[in-house]
Assembly symmetry: C2
Homo-oligomer: 228 residues x 2
DNA sequence: CGGCCAGTTGAGTGTGGTCAATCGTTGTGG
DNA sequence: CCACAACGATTGACCACACTCAACTGGCCG
């Protein structure tokens, strides 16, 4: 048994945006709904973590500004995801709406009162933290990957997987983020992202009808690049 | 208030090996002590996570083998650290002793029984998970950093901080890991690690009496390199 | 129509990877 | 005690990939 088991199905091996525990009944009643325009910050790195946010519509990113002024995007959040589940007092990153966004803001105080009554909610949040850790670890491995090609291939496949999970076309990827966002997420420059996508198109791996739409033509080829 | 607060003291901004919550009274009685020779694996990526391990002596690393055969070191663990605190069923990485190691093996079943009786133990493990997430995030940012110099400077300063915390000389760093281990941790090659350390020595930032001993001579200079 | 911005493409450079030779330490056996 | 092997670390030469700087394109909106 020891050491010879295949990796479990539920542990993702590649970059993945699908880390979302199943929702809990009764949860949606909590908190108040807020609308946030594109490119507006929701909270800041270092702020007291008073609220948790559930994304209802639109895309949110978590980012950090490094000492040298560079921005690094830690994570993207899609509808259904929960942001700011932080039990260390302060947020470890800033959060910004990439598109117009609808979120449900839930004060931690309210949440904690509820969790005392509903252990399955507490369970969900524990699981949420574990999944966020797993996602961060995968992102880390992606950053450690050598080539820009493998980073971007992995990124596209992760977006595709998320599409499939939401019941959308896994080969039609509508990019809600700019090239700069992708670059800051993958530790590349905007030019390299652009060049690599163009290269993928020349090689017949993808099509790029518009800058914001990627059509996957050769998943096998992309997968091969992704883990290289 | 919003967005204008300084980052909290307890959230590390740089690479750090000091993420360890305070120990809990009564904890040491649990589990059985095991001796593990250097370079022997303790558990494997994908194994059912039946045990949690507390490092008593020696250094342990957590690593993953990527699809292309590359090894990536996820984390180093020092005496007092806890490994394998995983509530997703299987270990998300393998663990290997880098030096001869003494660990305390604690079955999760035992742990969970204890936690039911002692809520402060459960609290400690929640905090442990949160700190591991923070450490992983910092490691990720370090990997996203552009230059080899800044990665290695940050790495040395992290080891130094850990030394200081253990009451040892923060400027005398005994490296328990090989150049390859460091390279796999920072996403570099063994040659680049070696070259960069040599460069630091030429520039008077460090001394290298032996391959396994680094003496920090210019912390300011290293810190400047670390966040660049 | 013109301005603006995101994205693309090009040319040149430099950092870090690759391959290979050498050094230094440690440990083993004659 | 020395010779030698084995291994990790260092150094050098070369090269490729991604960054930098810069020009240009295309879409969108006033």
């Amino acid at each position: 048994m020891l050491g010879l088991m295949a990796p479990a199905e539920n542990v993702a091996r590649d970059l993945d945006f699908s880390y979302r525990p199943a929702p809990v009944e009764g949860w949606p009643q909590l908190g108040t709904v807020q609308h946030i325009p594109a490119r507006e910050d929701i909270f800041f790195d270092g702020d007291e973590a008073r609220n948790v946010f559930e994304v209802l519509d639109g895309i949110v990113c978590a980012y950090r500004i490094l000492p040298d002024g560079e921005r690094h995007i830690v994570s993207f959040y899609f509808p259904g995801d929960v942001i700011g589940n932080c039990n260390l007092g302060t947020y470890p990153y800033s959060a910004q709406a990439l598109t117009p966004v609808r979120v449900r803001r839930i004060p931690r105080s309210v949440l904690e009162r509820y969790m005392a009554q509903r252990p399955e909610l507490a369970q969900r949040f524990l699981r949420l933290a574990a999944l966020e850790l797993a996602a961060t670890r995968d992102h880390m491995l992606c950053l450690a990957a050598k080539s820009a090609e493998s980073k971007i291939a992995a990124f596209l496949l992760a977006l595709s997987r998320r599409n499939a999970e939401l019941g959308e076309d896994p080969n039609q990827i509508k990019l809600p983020m700019t090239r700069l966002d992708i670059a800051d997420y993958l530790g590349l420059t905007i030019e390299t992202v652009s060049r690599t996508l163009s290269k993928f198109r020349r090689n017949g791996l993808i099509d790029l009808p518009r800058a914001t739409l990627v059509v996957l033509l050769d998943r096998k080829g992309l997968a091969a690049l992704a883990d290289s």
